[in-house]
């Protein structure tokens, strides 16, 4: 169907050209026809006027010659004879014209007459040559003249018939001329009219079609302009940041107001370059094949924003470039942080008894030491004994201080700021925090930290500490659920791998079942009984790790589960911060 209509359309396009050619040729043909008709008429007129003239002239001369002969025969004086001579010569001069001239050749049947005329020429020549003798001679002239007259009589009859034939021929021509002049030049005029009107119709339809085309083109152009304007409006008004990036030059070509607010209004600001570099490094292929982004971007003010978005190729300013659409989900992250805080407080609440128990111990020792010190004050070697007791008090006070410090640090609201910090001390602190609980449960915590002490990573130190603590608590809880006689051990490892640090928390608690593994990092997925935990720990861990541009994976090992964190090493050395 489409093929047919395409062919028709192609054929239809050829029509105007063909019609034009036909019209033009009709026009030319009409003009030529008109010209030829005029020429024919002129020719006719000319032939009508000239043919027969020579025949008439010859006939006239014959009559005059015959008359001169007859008169001379009556009275042959010198004058009459001279006249005869003249007439004979003139008649003789007219005969060749009948068959020799253009006008004569047009006479009908002149070809048949030519030999006859030529014979008479010879006769006349003879007579003309005999004239001087006749004039001067003494012989009687009348018989000779009479004989000449009768000799020329057939010539007279021939000339008469020629004249008659040419008159009839002329009548024919007159008829033709009349009919020609009467005949209206209908055919040429009709053709002219037809061709002219066809041409005009053609031009009009063409003009109309061209006007319609023009209108359509104009409308399309207006629609495009309108759409562009709408698009621009949408882009400008969109709450998400939209920017056009030139990947070759790592520069930003266009930002919408949301993007300007997110990063910086000026396109030349170095923040943009950093954002582009991070994005292009961290881009991943999503489920639908598109390019997605999940990055943590540290603004130059120190704030870290969590950005989520996508990347797609786009044609901008005639060049292929990249369109980046980003959403700032820092608020979600702040909510997450608050959740973390809430979870921490909840945990803290859980651990309140343990903490109280812990604090009680040094306090009890202090009390006993003070009481003993009082007793020893009365004795003689009181000084040494009291000093020893006071030392004991100091040690216990330090111990209590450490416990309180841990709690304080744990209860601190996460700042949300990124800074470079040393990894190893953080892991050691996390381990220290749960040390008492592990001891109370009889679980061994093994530390294998194969990283230099000053190895730094970029992120929030407190958050990472919390994540590790969470993992360690999860491991402890896993042991609680499966009461087993095997020695309970949890490993906390850290080692370098390429440019990244691997932090592993491995337990021997039997591992994670398959259906739980599928939803492990999703929020509110928990294996703990209701009321014991919200199930947010691992999802929060994932978002924290992601914010640090790292990865977290869980897998089942020999006898238990292993959670691995993959964190990028910071390029700048750690910033020292007061604890």
């Amino acid at each position: 169907m489409i093929f047919l209509s395409h062919n028709l359309r192609a054929g239809w396009r050829a029509w105007p050209t063909a019609l034009c050619a036909v019209t033009f040729s009709l026009f030319v043909a009409t003009a030529l026809l008109y010209i030829s008709e005029r020429k024919e008429q002129a020719l006719l007129s000319e032939s009508v006027t000239t043919s027969g003239w020579v025949a008439y002239q010859a006939q006239l001369e014959y009559v005059k010659t015959d008359d001169a002969l007859k008169r001379a025969a009556l009275r042959p004086d010198a004058e009459a004879l001279a006249d005869v001579g003249l007439r004979l010569e003139i008649l003789r001069s007219r005969l060749p014209l009948l068959y020799g001239s253009e006008d004569g050749r047009m006479l009908p049947e002149i070809d048949a007459l030519t030999p006859v005329l030529q014979r008479f020429e010879i006769v006349l020549d003879g007579m003309i040559d005999a004239m001087p003798a006749l004039e001067s001679g003494s012989a009687p002239k009348e018989p000779i003249l009479k004989a000449w007259s009768s000799a020329l009589a057939p010539l007279g009859r021939e000339l008469q018939s020629v004249l008659m034939a040419s008159v009839a021929y002329n009548n024919n021509l007159f008829e033709r001329e009349r009919s020609l002049s009467e005949q209206p030049t209908l055919v040429p005029l009709a053709l002219l009219f037809l061709s002219g009107s066809t041409l005009i119709i053609l031009m009009l339809t063409r003009a109309r079609r061209d006007r319609e085309h023009l209108r359509a083109v104009e409308a399309a152009r207006r629609a495009v302009t309108e759409m562009e304007r709408n698009l621009r409006g949408v882009v400008q008004a969109a709450p998400s940041a939209m920017l056009v990036v030139d990947p070759a030059e790592r520069a930003v070509r266009f930002i919408n107001p949301a993007a300007a607010e997110m990063v910086h209004p000026s396109l030349d600001h170095p923040d943009w370059t950093r954002l582009i570099d991070t994005s292009l490094e961290e881009v991943q292929i999503g489920d639908d094949g598109g390019m997605i982004l999940r990055i943590a971007f540290a603004k130059s003010g120190g704030d870290v924003v969590s950005l989520r978005g996508s990347l797609c190729p786009v044609m901008w300013e005639g060049r292929p470039q990249m369109l980046m659409v980003l959403i700032d989900n820092s608020r979600t992250r702040d909510a997450d942080l608050q959740l973390i805080q809430a979870a921490k407080l909840a945990t803290l609440g859980e651990m309140a008894t343990a903490i109280a128990h812990e604090l009680n111990q040094p306090l009890a020792v202090i009390r006993m030491a003070v009481a003993n010190a009082h007793r020893h004050l009365d004795a003689a070697d009181a000084r040494e004994a009291v000093a020893a007791k006071l030392d004991r008090v100091t040690t216990q006070v330090n111990r209590a201080k450490r416990i309180i410090d841990q709690v304080r640090r744990y209860g601190r609201q996460p700042s949300g700021k990124a800074a470079t910090f040393a990894l190893r001390p953080t892991l050691e602190l996390a381990a220290g925090f749960v040390a008492e609980q592990y001891r109370a449960c009889g679980i061994r915590l093994a530390l294998q930290l194969d990283v230099p002490a000053d190895l730094a990573i970029l992120g929030d130190r407190d958050l990472l500490e919390h994540v590790i603590v969470n993992l360690l608590i999860n491991a402890r809880d896993a042991f609680e659920q499966r009461a087993m006689a095997r020695p309970r051990t949890v490993w906390l490892r850290a080692r370098l791998h390429d440019q990244k640090v691997l932090v592993e928390v491995e337990d021997m608690a039997g591992g994670i079942s398959e259906e739980v593994m599928a939803h492990l990092f999703e929020p509110f997925s928990t294996t703990k009984p209701a009321g014991a935990g919200a199930g947010l720990g691992l999802s929060l861990a994932r978002s924290v790790v992601r914010d640090m541009n790292g990865h977290i994976v869980a897998e089942n090992m020999r006898n238990g589960a292993c959670i691995t964190l993959l964190l990028p090493v910071a390029r700048t050395p750690a910033t020292r911060e007061a604890a």
Binding site: Q57, A82, L86, E89, S93, L97, S101, D125
Partner: protein
């Protein structure tokens, strides 16, 4: 004496008869018909005038012929006049009017001889007004052909 007379008259007749057949009557007249001058030019008179020649073929002759005679302009200005046109009459009473440009610009020739011999009446003599057909193709048009009058009898010049 009578014998001499007869011979003389015969001689004169012999001499003048052809000569009489070969004479052209030339008249100069004004528009009102008043004759200003009149001459009868014999072949001898014509030969005395400055001569010209045209070598050409014509529709009525075979091949290229040499026409010689005084140019028509020589005759036209004989009386000291500058005529505007001339009415040429032929022996068979054919009449044609020639405009002045034909003898002032077109080089019309009042030919008295063809290839050196005088022209007999039966050969369209004694005098034939000729144009240089071969040199200028426009003289082959019917208009000019009708002006090439043969068997010229008289020339009537119209003087302004």
């Amino acid at each position: 004496m009578s014998r001499t007379a007869v011979i003389t008259s015969l001689l004169v007749l012999w001499l003048t008869l052809p000569a009489a057949a070969q004479a052209v009557l030339v008249r100069w007249a004004g528009a009102d018909g008043k004759v200003v001058e009149q001459r009868e030019l014999t072949l001898r008179d014509l030969d005395a005038l400055p001569q010209a020649a045209i070598e050409t073929s014509t529709p009525w002759t075979e091949g290229v012929r040499r026409f010689t005679g005084p140019p028509l302009s020589a005759i036209a200005t004989l009386g000291g006049q500058s005529p505007k046109e001339v009415r040429v009459a032929a022996l068979n009473d054919y009449v044609m009017t020639l405009p002045a440009e034909d003898w002032t610009q077109n080089g019309a020739l009042f030919s008295t001889r063809i290839n050196g011999t005088i022209i007999r009446v039966k050969d369209k003599g004694p005098f034939w007004i000729m144009y240089p057909l071969d040199r200028d193709a426009r003289f082959k048009q019917a208009m000019y052909k009708s002006r090439m009058v043969w068997q010229v009898k008289s020339l009537d010049f119209l003087v302004p």
